[in-house]
Point group: C2
Chain length 334, copies 2
């Protein structure tokens, strides 16, 4: 049997997450039984939302536990199969978590098409891309000519949201945490503007780049950036609440923005949270549209690859500090 | 000419509003020109939302000014008419503000039906009632069997919201600021439960009276009660943001609730603000339905009448402190 490295949750973080909250162990890879397959992990999706699962209180990511393999979606190759429906060599996605090998029930697996690089099933075509697609289009219904603002704009979800909004004919303004990210959003992804929320003049800069206000705000962060967006929103604006990355990596979250609910009333705003799993039956059609945009060059997916399973903890800690540009994945094997 | 008493805004409040922010002056009543009528004020609507118009920053109530008649909707009787379309003796509503007499363009007036006591055009059939009707039914679409929670439940809007929800087959839970109000909501208006947010055990009591959680929350207050509601909301819950009475009468508003936007995401909640004026073209149909409910006894409108124009300032200050039960009006003449 091959050896299997696993990254376990050693302890729950108090304050910020650290690589020391994880430990790497090595054991024998498991054997698939009838109806199961052995999956070799090719790459792991690193998601800010997973941080919520490490909080002391339960969240949508479930109650936290130690001593288990860190959770995560992966793309994998089938290396042993005890089920004819999923032959050897198939490429699949599954929730294997942070390890080299896992045994999966064949019935739970979808064999991926080989028309696109499988890595995109962790980004554009995975939960990340579906989140951008439905969270923007279904929750906010952006119209041509409207201004769409997105926070964590260089992140896995944000860089797709901005591009989808641009494809829909909107003016797109991104907010990110460093000047180089802002430059790349404008130069490489054709955002109309991008501003750095860490600048002292952020609120004024945001005002300058949204001369007609903001009709749609896609919120990945909560906190101060949400508060600033509320002041720029136009009448009948829509806010899609996707996540709270500014608040995940702490034991002492900020209070909510002052404009809630006063500005919601004055401006007739709608704020709506969503979870992408609710749209699962519409993923196939969304993926088809996303592949079309990627193939014609109107949508550029950024993949931010870190090599080596042993580096997954630092890759995650760095992501929470805003170190990623686009979709961060950990490459485990070729 | 009759004399006309006017209540002027003498100064803008710093901190809480006080009767001393107003002054009473007496002058001659104006003369109507061609196309105008002279209106004698019968009663004035006292609205918490008017407090927002006295803030240092502009709100939906407009920028604040001193030296002008305090704004307010009134019901009035036409005592002189220079327009045949509005004959002497007609009962009308208009934005006369806090004074005995005003001249109004006849073309702006709607002559009220004499089928109902005109005072209801300040409550059930006025902006207050329309706010309850559209803010509940259009924004949240409550379904039979769902639990509807409302804050400032004994207030002008709240006591109607709860009754409309009950008529729609919902379980209704009110939140108010004293035990006697809570008792009356249950005994007289048939709320399923009412809890006093000033009690130390408020959060536990709220939990006890919402054993199946909260599907719809009608928020008149913002602040702590909104924060508590967020924790009781069910998946796919809807929050109608109607006003922020907890925050009007202060220069130092509280921060927003901690659950925003985190709980919106986890529970797929929708929060939506509205202003009732947007529904003006549907008022006639709504009024017809409200009159039907009042006439068959399923909806009981509470009128809280203070007598005397000179008492309008204290009636307003007291309202902001939660002194009213139901719709507060100031009776100016018979």
């Amino acid at each position: 049997m091959p050896t299997n490295r696993q990254v376990l949750i050693r302890s729950l973080p108090e304050g910020s997450l650290a690589a020391e909250n994880y430990e790497l162990v090595t054991l024998e890879a498991p054997n698939p039984a009838a109806g199961e397959v052995l999956c070799r992990t090719l790459a792991i999706s690193i998601d800010a939302g997973s941080r919520a699962g490490l909080q002391g209180s339960a969240s949508y990511a479930g109650a936290p536990t130690t001593g288990i393999v860190m959770n995560g979606t992966v793309v994998a190759r089938v290396e042993e199969s005890e089920d004819d429906a999923v032959p050897l060599g198939s490429i699949v996605t599954c929730g294997a978590g942070w390890q080299d090998y896992s045994v999966q029930p064949a019935a739970d697996l979808t064999v991926l098409s080989d028309e696109v690089d499988p890595i995109h099933y962790l980004g554009l075509l995975g939960g990340t891309g579906m989140t951008a697609y439905f969270g923007l289009l279904d929750i906010t219904d952006p119209q041509p000519g409207e201004t769409v603002m997105v926070s964590a704009a260089a992140g896995a979800v944000g860089h797709l949201v901005g591009q989808i909004a641009r494809i829909k004919g909107c003016r797109v303004v991104g907010v990110a945490g460093d000047d180089e990210k802002c430059r790349r959003l404008v130069d490489e992804l054709k955002f109309d503007a991008a501003v750095n929320y860490k600048n002292a003049g952020f609120r004024n800069e945001l005002k300058e780049v949204t001369p007609n206000g903001v009709d749609v705000y896609f919120d990945n962060t909560g906190g101060m950036v949400l508060g600033s967006a509320l002041f720029r929103m136009n009448l009948n604006g829509r806010i899609s609440c996707c996540g709270v990355v500014s608040q995940y990596d702490t034991s002492t979250p900020e209070p909510g923005p002052k404009g809630v609910p006063g500005l919601l009333v004055n401006k007739r705003l709608k704020m709506e949270g969503f979870l992408v799993f609710d749209y699962a039956d519409r993923y196939p059609a969304a993926r088809e549209e996303m592949i079309g945009w990627m193939n014609d060059g109107s949508l550029v997916p950024w993949i931010d690859e870190v090599v080596g399973l042993e580096n997954a903890p630092t890759a995650f800690v760095d992501l929470l500090a805003g170190g990623n540009v686009g979709k961060r994945v950990v490459r485990v094997s070729a």
